[in-house]
């Protein structure tokens, strides 16, 4: 069947108003390009950060949370609501954060078919001393072979080898930032002092770069036995069990299950990084507000040009109506015009946004902030481009709808009579 020449009429109008059409189109182009660049940068960065964080966060972490707001012994004995118990200077009990039967739990977990790896952990604050330089940081007491299964530590080694933490009794692997701060090199001796005042002479057997700047400036890996020595605890003492699952999507579900099963606190990686995700939410909100404002401005451009065309083409509208075109046909003509502007402007915006991503993405940045990266990471997945394009089209259709409806309502006799 023959199509009404809606598209042809629409194109004719736009060609007759070439310059304004191009300006309106470039408005959309600008909006979409900024979308691709800005939101692409944001979501690319976030994806990179999440990947880095998730890679260094266990799918599930089991630990023993110290009881806060502990009731005093007197309150426990004399729990009468009508009396006050006053105890001054109550101090928290020297709570043991120990996971009781930690190694038994580990061997149970290792037999769970859903689990890919389990790693015991004992952490402590520590002071590192090389010569006269002295830095406060943290030691992570680990079984490095198991830790490697979870966090791929070996991939991040700049120097040295992780197995030397096993083979050399007093070996220590420093974060690269920490090594820089201390001015320490591979093979140097280093003194580690615990909060209890225990000193250990250790030897640097590796330098590690996780990509998370804060971590690299403060963390050192040591063998879990050395950590137990620093804290003066027995060989079964561990504070955390980190778990890697075969399917990390099960994290939340299994965290609940292990909590119920073992009685200790068990959190999944999402909960562990909740604060980061909430920062992202605000970041995204701001980004999208900026983009929406740009698209509103380009929407006004489209609105403007359509109104101009409508006023100029009143006689055309009148005659089309007289020869039997319906209000909806007229509306379609002008909606088509806004869509043409939106599609052409949007496609150009995608191309320009893509080029901007490529250019900026190839400039070496060497950023050392929240995370350290050499190049900016952009989200350039096809889905993202489709999303930006659809978003732009929705904005342009909304901008085109009002003038289009007005055109549909033009009264033909008013125009014909007024000539």
């Amino acid at each position: 069947m023959t199509q009404t020449p809606v598209i042809k009429i629409a194109l004719t109008h736009l060609v007759a108003k070439k310059r304004q059409t191009i300006v309106a189109m470039l408005g959309v182009t600008f909006g979409i390009a900024i979308f691709i660049f800005q939101a692409g940068l944001m979501s690319g960065f976030q994806a990179y950060f999440i990947e880095e964080t998730v890679n260094s966060t266990a799918n599930i972490r089991i630990f023993n949370e110290a009881e806060k707001n502990r009731k005093g012994i007197i309150s426990k004995l004399n729990d009468d609501k009508n009396h006050w118990n006053v105890v001054q200077n109550q101090k928290p009990k020297d709570e043991q954060n120990k996971i009781k039967n930690g190694y038994q739990i580990i061997s149970i977990l290792e037999r769970d078919p859903r689990v890919a790896g389990v790693s015991p952990f004992l952490g402590s604050q520590a002071i590192f001393k090389v010569g006269i330089s002295q830095i406060a940081g943290r030691v992570s007491g680990v079984d490095i072979i198991k830790e490697n299964i979870l966090f791929d530590v070996s991939k991040n080694m700049k120097q040295g080898d992780i197995t030397r933490l096993e083979t050399i009794p007093n070996g220590i692997i420093l974060g690269d930032g920490l090594a820089d701060l201390l001015g320490a090199k591979m093979g140097d001796n280093i003194m580690v002092t615990s909060p209890l005042g225990v000193n250990l002479d250790m030897k640097i057997v590796g330098i590690n770069h996780s990509g998370l700047t804060e971590v690299d400036k403060s963390r050192a890996y040591i063998n879990i036995r050395n950590a137990q020595k620093l804290l003066q605890v027995d060989g079964s003492y561990i504070t955390d069990i980190n778990i890697k699952l075969k399917d990390f999507a099960l994290s939340e579900e299994l965290a609940k299950y292990y909590h119920a099963k073992f009685g200790f606190r068990a959190i999944d990686w999402k909960e562990a990084n909740a604060s980061v995700f909430s920062v992202f939410k605000i970041q995204n909100l701001v980004t999208y507000l900026i983009i929406i404002s740009i698209l509103i401005v380009s929407g006004f451009g489209i609105f403007n040009i359509l109104m101009m065309i409508i006023y100029e083409k009143m006689p055309d509208i009148a005659i089309l109506k007289a020869i039997g075109y319906k209000d909806s046909d007229i509306k379609k003509i002008f909606l088509t015009e806004s869509l043409i502007i939106g599609i052409l402007g949007g496609l150009l915006g995608l191309v320009i946004g893509f080029i901007m991503q490529k250019i900026v993405g190839n400039i070496r940045m060497d950023i050392k902030g929240f995370v350290s990266m050499e190049y900016l990471h952009f989200n350039s997945s096809p889905g993202f481009y489709v999303f930006a394009f659809v978003f732009g089209l929705i904005a342009t259709s909304i901008a085109g709808y009002i003038p289009a409806r007005k055109a549909g309502k033009v009264d033909a006799i008013d125009i014909i009579r007024s000539k």
Binding site: M1, T2, Q3, T4, P5, K8, I9, T12, V15, A16, P315, D316, A318, I319, L320, K321, A322, I323, G324, Y325, K326, D327, S328, D329, A412, I413, I416, R417, K419
Partner: protein, 225 residues
């Protein structure tokens, strides 16, 4: 044999409310028969155009009844009226109202493409037939705004004819033309009536034109006299 009526009005009244209450049509009862060529005349402001717009479904703000090809127009929706105009009515106005950026051929095709009863190729062929009839075949591929006033008005007539309408309405179709072109347009209408039994209603103040039609309806202050 009873004559087939294309249009019949019963107690047709129309008032404008803005800027003041003003009755432009007063109790109009007329009939237009199939194949009739009728002229509506009257002094300026007597309501000729107003009557034409009401009869041709463009203006729906009236009281009384208009029967068009047997249907009561007051019962039709806006979209149904648009369909009636597309299928059964041809318009020729004082100003030709062609789409200036389109070719002559495309302008003539516009109503047929809306009707979409024939293929593009058939529509084109019909358009060429009409252009032939009006001596415009060689102008078909020119832009409409490149033609002279008289030629443009003939293109408008070709456009009015493309869907084989029941009736053609003209509001001072020669009002803007010199006497030679006016004569030409009149001859075309006459030919359409004589050869194709085309019904035609034309508003004019050219008495010389009006006298040569089948019948004259004279309006004075909104009344038929």
């Amino acid at each position: 044999m009873e004559k087939i009526k294309i249009i019949e009005t019963k107690n047709l009244n129309k008032s404008f409310h803005d800027p003041v209450e003003f009755q432009a049509l007063k109790n109009i009862n007329i009939e237009i028969g199939q194949g009739e060529f009728v002229a509506i005349v009257g002094s300026s402001g007597s309501g000729k155009s107003t009557l034409l717009y009401v009869l041709s479904t463009l203006d729906t703000d009236y009281t009384g009844h208009i029967y068009f090809d047997g249907d009561d127009l007051s019962l039709k929706t806006k979209n149904q009226l648009a369909e009636i105009r597309n299928e059964k009515i041809g318009f020729v106005f004082q100003f030709h109202y062609l789409l200036p950026e389109f070719t002559v051929l495309e302008n003539v095709c516009l109503p047929a493409m809306k009707l979409a009863r024939f293929s593009d190729a058939e529509i084109k062929e019909h358009a060429y037939q009409k252009l032939d009839l009006l001596g415009l075949r060689d102008q078909a591929l020119k832009k409409a705004n490149k033609l002279s006033g008289g030629q443009q008005q003939r293109v408008a007539i070709a456009r009015a004819l493309i869907n084989q309408p029941k009736i053609i309405f003209g509001d001072e179709p020669t009002g803007n033309l010199d006497s030679k072109n006016s004569q030409n347009v009149f001859d075309i209408f006459k030919e359409l009536k004589d050869n194709f039994n085309q019904s035609i209603v034309v508003v004019t103040h050219d008495m010389h034109f009006a006298e040569r039609t089948d019948r004259i309806i004279t309006l004075s202050d909104g009344e038929v006299v």
